[in-house]
Structures are given as C-alpha cells and as structure tokens.
C-alpha cells in the first residue's frame, strides 16, 4: 500500500544503499559487535583484531559480524578497519576460521555521536537478527579477545539481556561513577549495576528491538548518556541484567570533551533526565539487589590517578561562595547551611560527610526535576561541590587499598539507599 509511511521508510532509513547491500551479504548472524568510531585510525585496528580473534577463538562455529559505525572520520578510520588482517592464525593461537569473516563499515546517518552510532548498530542488529550484540570502544588499548567471550556469552548462552562490564580501575579513577552515578541509580532502581556508563557492553537481540522501538532521542545522543539510557530502558523493560569482569580498561585517548565540566553536565544531566522519565519505576522501590556477575576477576597493579587536592578545595570554596544565591535555590535549607559552613575558608580541613553528599545529590536531582532554575545551570552549579567531595574522598582514603575503597563506596551506597525517603520528599515538593 502506498502511503505516507513509504516516504519515511526511504527518506529516513538508517541504511545507505551500500550499507544495506553489505548487510544483505552478511545475512542472518548470531553475534554482532559494533564499534562506534570517530577519528580512531590509530587504535581501531587493534580493537578489530581483538574482536575477530575473540570470535574465532570463542565462537568458531557461530555466524558473526563486526560492524564499524563511523561518525565521519577524517583520518582514515574506515580504511583502518577494512585493512586489518588477522596475521598468521597459527601464531595468533586462533583456530582456522570455519566461516567467512564479516566486517562491515559504514558512515552512519545523522551527526556524529554515540546515540546515532548506537541507533545504527541496533537497527543493523535487528535487521540481521543477531542473538547477542556488543558495543566496544574504538580506542581501547587493554582489550583482549577474552572480552568478546566475557561480554557475549552471558547474553548468547545464558539468556541475559544486558551485560555491563566490571573494570579493574586505577585508584581514584571514575569518581563520578562511584560517588554519584552508580549509587544514585542503585538507590533509584534497586539494582547494583557497577558500571552503568560503560562504553563496552553486550545486549540481546530482544533488548535491541526494545530499544529501537523506544527510539533514541537527541538528548540520549550525548557522548556519555548512552549507557545510562540503555541500562534504564533495560530495567524498565524488566529484562535480565548481568555484568562481566573484563580487567583493566586503558584507553588511548581521553575523550576529546573529557574535562570535568562538560562531563558532569553531560552525564549527570542525562542521568537526571532518565530518572525523571522513569519516575514511576523507582519512586516506590527501596533497597537493592545484586546483579549476576561473570568472568574471572583478577588484580592488576595500576598507578593511582593523581589528584591536586589543594586546587580542588580552593575551587570548591570559591564556588560555594560565589554561587551562594544559586545554591540556595537548589539545595534544601539545612543542606545549604552545612555546605556553606563546610566551605568556610577559615576551616583547617575539608571533610565532606557521606550523608551531606547524598543529600546534596538528592537536592540537585529534585531541583532538576522541579526545574527551579535552568537545568543546564544547575548542572554547572554541581561542579564545585563535586570537586569538594572528590577532594575530601581522596584525602580521607589516601592510603586505602582496593578493598577498603570498595567498602567505602558500599557504605556510600547504603547511605544513598537509607536517605531515599528524603529524596522522594524533595522530589515531590511542589514548586
């Protein structure tokens, strides 16, 4: 039947003719690994090799495809992908391949961004009826063929719908995740997903279709929020979540936008938006459940991240003083008092207690929900306070080992869970 829909199919197709032709040639697959890229010519070859070796070693009989969704690289990323060879299979310990190796690369439609890349990969996964898919970052130096197995197997063989990674991180790496994103999502949805922001994760064909149906809005297309969005939707859909240990995550480049300011604006903004959209999912929930974990966990000695605490403290204090008016509108009266007191320059040491941090986060989330100020501005107002929290957290755990650090984060999570009623109260305040 000819109708207005016909136009949308051809005009807004995610697939260029060439891409579609390639996908037809690949045909139905069992496993799909998508690598979104943008100017990663130097590192992507290594990742492509690891993925193919992972396929060859762990899924020799299954139909696999590697899909590179490129955002319009200028440095020959696509050529780098297509030209990679696996080298001598005997030396690489990879068994000889039974099947034709499939590697597809395409320039996805729309502006460069993880959201559009993900949408293309999801659509391709659905078209190829992939049973298990994974997204892998193009700039990973520490990727090993095992990752492919660790990520895909729980989905492919154990019927999990989403598998997020567990990384071995440098000490004090990922503080925004451990102090805000992880505990806040855990307190909200009651699931302990340790790395909800992951750049590398696996999902089932079922979840791919589910996500596609829901559509990816431009807001989800921020460079950071994709992981949060995927995890949230998976929880919303009542799908099975798991996580898998991958080992250290070492990337070649910091994100081009990886300064604290834009990151917090992106990540926390996306997180708050998702929380708002899925309000009905968590307002009544309490406590939290562990998420099934796979893979063999091992220790790696990594150099701790260096933190310039003096400067952080100074920026925290300046920020609180300068932004008093704004913070007053965002934070609860009591919280604001405590924060201002803490920021008092005359105090010798900075101690940012867990509970106060939790309440601050809750106040921000609630103020965001109630739009007491421009949301973008609120995100920026959080930055100095986060700096203070980082300074205090790292200072107090200067000599802590991995286990102690994990225990501290667990305590923080429990504080989040305990104070959830406070959050809900603030959330539901009328304007």
């Amino acid at each position: 039947m000819a109708g207005p829909n016909d136009n949308t199919i051809t005009d807004e197709s995610l697939f260029s003719d060439e891409f579609l032709r390639q996908l037809i040639a690949v045909g139905e697959v069992d496993l799909l690994v998508g690598i979104p890229s943008l100017n990663n010519a130097n590192t992507i070859g290594h990742v492509v090799q690891a993925v193919h070796l992972g396929f060859a070693k762990y899924f020799p009989r299954d139909r696999t495809v590697l899909l590179n969704a490129d955002g319009g690289s200028k440095d020959g990323t696509e050529e780098a992908v297509t030209s990679v060879s696996l080298g001598d299979p005997h030396r690489m310990l990879a068994p000889q391949l039974l099947r034709t190796m499939h590697r597809v690369t395409t320039r996805y439609r729309g502006a460069a961004g993880r959201g559009n890349a993900l949408r293309t990969i999801l659509a391709a996964a659905e078209l190829l009826r992939a049973k298990a898919c994974a997204i892998i970052s193009p700039d990973l130096l520490s990727i090993r063929p095992e990752w492919i197995d660790n990520l895909l197997r729980p989905v492919y063989k154990e019927q999990y719908d989403l598998v997020t990674p567990l990384y071995r991180r440098q000490k004090f790496d990922g503080l925004l995740i451990s102090n805000l994103v992880y505990p806040l999502m855990r307190a909200a949805y009651g699931l302990r997903v340790r790395e909800p922001l992951a750049g590398d994760f696996a999902f089932s064909g079922k979840l791919a279709s589910y996500l596609l149906e829901r559509g990816i809005s431009p807001e989800d297309a921020s460079p950071y929020g994709v992981g949060i969005w995927v995890v949230t939707k998976a929880i919303r859909g009542g799908l099975r979540l798991g996580q898998s240990f991958l080992g250290p995550r070492i990337r070649a480049s910091k994100d081009s936008t990886q300064d604290v300011v834009s990151m917090i604006r992106g990540v926390v903004g996306d997180l708050f938006r998702c929380l708002e959209a899925e309000e009905s999912l968590w307002l009544d929930a309490s406590g939290s459940q562990p998420v099934a974990s796979f893979g063999f966990s091992y220790d790696v000695i990594l150099e701790p991240v260096r933190v310039n605490r003096k400067r952080l403290i100074q920026m925290f204090r300046n920020g609180v003083t300068e932004l008093q008016d704004i913070l007053k509108t965002i934070l609860g009266e009591e919280t604001f008092g405590s924060v201002r007191e803490m920021a008092d320059p005359s105090r010798e040491r900075l101690h940012f207690p867990d509970e106060l941090w939790v309440k601050t986060v809750y106040d921000f989330a609630s103020a965001f929900h109630r739009s007491v100020l421009n949301r973008e501005h609120m995100m920026q107002a959080l930055i100095p306070i986060f700096r203070g929290r980082v300074a205090s957290f790292t200072l107090e755990r200067h000599s802590a080992d991995d286990n102690e650090l994990e225990a501290a984060i667990e305590d923080l999570c429990l504080a989040y869970e305990r104070l959830k009623p406070y959050w809900i109260e603030r959330w539901n305040l009328s304007r």
Binding site: R21, Q22, I24, A25, V26, G27, E28, P60, R61, R63, P95, Q96, L97, L98, R99, T100, H102
Partner: protein
C-alpha cells in the same frame, strides 16, 4: 580361454571417455540377487543394467568381486583372475561386461595392488620356505626393526607393520591387516605378474581400474614409505604398458591425501588418469551446514592445475565412511557435531552414513548437493541407492550400514532377492523413514517428481554440455557468502552456476560485466533471463536452490 566376444570390445575407442563419464558405484553383492540365495550376483546385475543406463550413468565402478576370505570385505584378494563364486562365474562376468558395453556403460573394477590375501597362492607358496622361488614376491625380514618410520594405519588392530611367520621363521611386511602381506614391487617378477593380471581383465574388455592403496607400494628405509618415487615408478611402468596396448583404458588412483600431494599421481600425465579429490567431499557438507561458501572456495583454490588428460574424481558418498582425515581439527569437531547425533554414526576418522540421512532426508539439500557434484570440476561418482535417497543402518558394524541391499520394491526383501528376508547377506534398512516401503525404485519410477526422476533430469542436463566435464572453473565472489557462484567455460561455451547454500532465500549481486550482452538461459527449464548489462546482475535464489545458466550472445 575364449577370445573376447565382439560385443565386449564394441565401444568405440575414445581415449578421454573418463572425463565425460558419470560413474555409478555399486557392489555386486548388494545390487540384485538373481538366484534367490540372498547375495547379489552378476546375473542379477545384468538384469538391472537398463536401470543404470536410464539413470544416465556412463560407467560402472564395481567393488572387489574376486575370490577372497572376506576378512576385509573383498579387499583381501585370494585370486586376481577369478570371480567370487557367490557372485557368479567368470562367464557371468563376461556376459555382464558384454551387456554393459552394449548399453554404452564402461566398467571400472577394483584392483588391490599393494597386497594380497594370505590365502593367495602366491603367498602360500612364498611362505613355504625361505628358498621358495616365490619368496621374494613379498617383503621378508629377520627382524621387525626395519622401516620404523612407516606409520601403522589400522592402529586399532595392528601393533606393527611386521608379522611373524611361524612356518618360514621370518617376518613379513604388511601396511594394512596382518592377513594382507604386501607385495614386493622391487621384484620385477611381481611387476610383471601384476601386469599380467591387468592384461587378463583388459583383454576381456574392462575399461579401467580403481587402484586401491597406491601410496604404499614400495618401502625404503628412513622414509615413511608413502608416495615414494619408486612407487610412482611402478605406476608409470604399468601405465606405459597400458598405453602401449590399450590406449583408451584408465587408472583411477585412491590416495587420501591433500590435492597438492595427489598431484604426483598424475605425474606428467603418464601415471594415473584420474584420482579422487578427497578433501572436497567433507567440505561440501561443511559448506552447506555452515551456509557459507568458504570451505569449498578455499579447497578449490588450493587445488593445483592437473595435466590436460587427467581428471579429478569427485563424490558425495561412497562405500566407506565420510572421511574426515583431510580437514582441520576444528572442522572435524564441527562435522562430528553437525552430522552425528549418535556416537554410533562415527567410525575411524569419519562418519558412516549415507547421503539422505546425513541431510535429514531434506530433498532440497539432497538436490543442492547433487547439483554441486554435477557442476564442480571433475567426474562425478554416484553411490548406488543415493539416487533414490536410500537410508543406512548404523547398527550394522563397520561400514556395512551403507552397504545394505538396493531397494527395488517395497517388499520384505526390498525386491533385491526372491529368497526369504532372513537369508539376505544383510537386512534391508527397516527404519520408519527409509525402509523399502518408503524408499524404492519402483515407486519413484512412477513419479515425475521423485528424487530418482529428478536425478535423471539433472544428469541429462549435465550431459547437454561438455563444459561441466572438461571446462575451466572460475569462482565469482559476490558479497553474499551464502551464495556459491562460479563460471565454467570451455571454448566459447560458458555456463554460470549459482548455488544458494542457505536454508532461506538470498539476494545476490553478481559482477558479470565481462559477459555483458549475453543472455542467460536456465538449463533445466530453458527459461530466458534478462540480458546481462553493466550493472551487477541481481538474482534471488530460493532456499538451497541452484541455477545453471548457459550464457549466450544471441
């Protein structure tokens, strides 16, 4: 001994007949029993020659029918120049030969050169004493320490390649079973004797020999005693004699080796005319299971060019297990998992099953596989019963499960014999899917749509053009790897073959620019397809479907 009757030599001299042949492989014992003793015989076979001719085959390959203690299913020959009484007499054989030739069917027999049975008169004489004139027709030694580098082939039953002869107090050499002593080809008397054997059959009118176990003829210290130059010299000697006297007869070498190693058996066209392409067969099965053309393309690309007068013999199934010696470990594991649901289906390094049960009786896949067999380079060999989709009985020990009586009708004895069913040399297949009531020649002859009728049409189509038997092959590489496409060319004749290895319909774009302007005609039905242009030629191929297109510029 009578002179060959004129009929037996009636076929015109046609030196390259084996290149265009379609070989039908059968065992006299299993084909048809004329005297109700439960065992097939030559008289019975003669009655069924019309059937084979109608099928479209142009040559027969008979498994060993010589007198034998049958400890290795006839491959242990006790008399090279006679017929096992169970199958008839030498005269019966001659009649058979005459009748076959009358129907333009060439006859290929088995010749086991490497060894004889220990019941053969040659060996019985040789072991009488160390000084017997026949003594050095076999390989003797005082110690079992010689030729230690030669591997033992039947590791399950044999401890050594040497066996102690208590009568003459020496060890004798055997590469296979200990009751199969190896002939000593260093002895010119043996070479002459073997030539005499060949001459005996050639004189009678036999058109070719399948030479069993050829890599092992000669032994040399410090080598693995396989594929030795001396072995090739023996074969070249026999070939030379053959060419001198019988210009249109043929040697078919059995050497389960990689194509590059088999190449030596063609030599410069002065050794064997044909040789089996062993590694291709499991890869056809693998490709269809994987729905990926890679295994076939890969092995064909690793197959070297052979002399002009030579030809590969290709097959889907034969009287042995589906051998998995010429595949990688990974591929072997995959084949086992994909094609054997029951451990009883495995034997040695292979799978002992017939074509139809291997493919779950799936008509589409059976057709596709036969289509590949008939269109890939080489002379195709059809194993008896596979043209009607016969089943097997994996509970019959060794390879007997694929050697059950040919199923002619739906009766108790499958129309194979008029004896009581209990008397048959082997029970017919009796399971629900493949028993004679379901699968038999009689019922399939009545339908235009039976597998038998279809196979006949396929063979007829193949015979339309020599491009399949003699043409060059070149793979096309469409992006869709589920589609195996190649072009066969001979002179100005071109045939495009497109196979869909997948269980679901596929779209494929073929780069046919060099045939621009040609009009494809589908060969089985004669339908004309759109003219080939500059753009990629788009075809849709149904589940396991294949097309043969004749490309013509009209």
């Amino acid at each position: 001994m009578e002179k060959p009757t004129p009929e037996t030599a009636a076929l015109p001299v046609e030196p390259l007949w084996y290149k265009d042949a379609i070989i039908y492989q059968l065992h006299v014992r299993s084909f048809y029993d004329s005297n109700a003793d439960g065992v097939g015989d030559f008289r019975g076979l003669v009655q069924k020659l019309d059937y084979i001719q109608e099928l479209g085959a142009t040559a027969l390959w008979l498994l060993p029918f010589y007198p034998s203690p049958l400890r290795d299913d006839g491959y242990d020959i006790a008399d090279y120049t006679n017929v096992n009484p169970a199958y008839g007499t030498l005269d019966d054989f001659k009649t058979f030969l005459t009748e076959a030739h009358r129907r333009k069917l060439r006859v290929i027999t088995e010749l086991v050169l490497n060894h004889t049975s220990d019941q053969h008169s040659w060996f019985r004489e040789a072991r009488r004493s160390q000084n017997d004139p026949r003594r050095h027709w076999y390989v003797w030694s005082d110690t079992d320490e010689e030729y230690r580098d030669a591997r033992i082939i039947f590791t399950d039953t044999e401890m050594s390649n040497w066996a102690w002869d208590p009568v003459s107090k020496q060890y004798y050499w055997h590469r296979f079973f200990s009751h199969q002593p190896d002939l000593n080809y260093d002895n010119s008397e043996v070479r002459e004797a073997v030539w005499e054997v060949m001459k005996f059959w050639l004189e009678m009118g036999v058109d070719g020999f399948r030479l069993d176990a050829v890599p092992y003829l000669v032994e040399r210290e410090g080598t693995n005693c396989e594929n030795l130059p001396e072995t090739h010299a023996v074969l070249q000697f026999l070939r030379q004699r053959l060419d001198e006297h019988y210009p249109d007869r043929m040697f078919l070498a059995e050497a389960n080796q990689w194509p590059s190693d088999v190449l030596a058996y063609f030599s410069n066209g002065d050794e064997c005319h044909m040789a089996f392409h062993f590694p291709l067969m499991p890869r056809i099965f693998m490709a269809v299971k994987l729905e990926d053309r890679k295994p076939i393309v890969e092995i064909q690309e690793h197959t070297p060019a052979i002399p002009d007068a030579c030809q590969w013999a290709i097959f889907l199934r034969n009287h042995d297990e589906l051998t998995l010696e010429m595949v990688t470990d990974e591929e072997r594991d995959y084949m086992y998992d994909a094609y054997t649901t029951d451990p009883a289906m495995r034997l040695n390094v292979g799978i002992r099953r017939r074509l139809a049960p291997l493919l779950d009786g799936d008509r589409k896949r059976i057709e596709l596989m036969n289509g590949l067999l008939m269109s890939l380079p080489g002379t195709p060999i059809i194993y008896y019963g596979d043209e009607i989709g016969m089943g097997d009985n994996i509970f019959l020990g060794d390879r007997n499960g694929v050697r059950t009586p040919m199923q002619w009708t739906g009766g108790w004895t499958a129309g194979f014999s008029r004896s009581d069913p209990e008397r048959l040399y082997s029970p017919p297949v009796s399971n629900e899917l493949y028993n004679p009531k379901i699968v038999n020649v009689d019922s399939q002859s009545r339908s235009e749509h039976s597998l038998l009728a279809w196979t006949k049409r396929l063979i007829r189509t193949r015979k339309l053009s020599r491009v399949f038997s003699r043409g060059k092959m070149e793979f096309l590489s469409p992006a869709n790897h589920r589609v195996l496409a190649y072009v066969r060319t001979l002179g100005n004749e071109t045939v495009l073959v497109v196979n869909n290895l997948a269980s679901c319909a596929q779209a494929v774009e073929l780069d046919l620019r060099r045939f621009k302007g040609a009009i494809p005609t589908e060969m089985s039905g004669g339908s004309v397809f759109p003219r080939i242009g500059e753009l990629p030629y788009l075809l849709t191929v149904g589940s396991y479907q294949f097309y043969w297109f004749r490309l013509r510029r009209l």
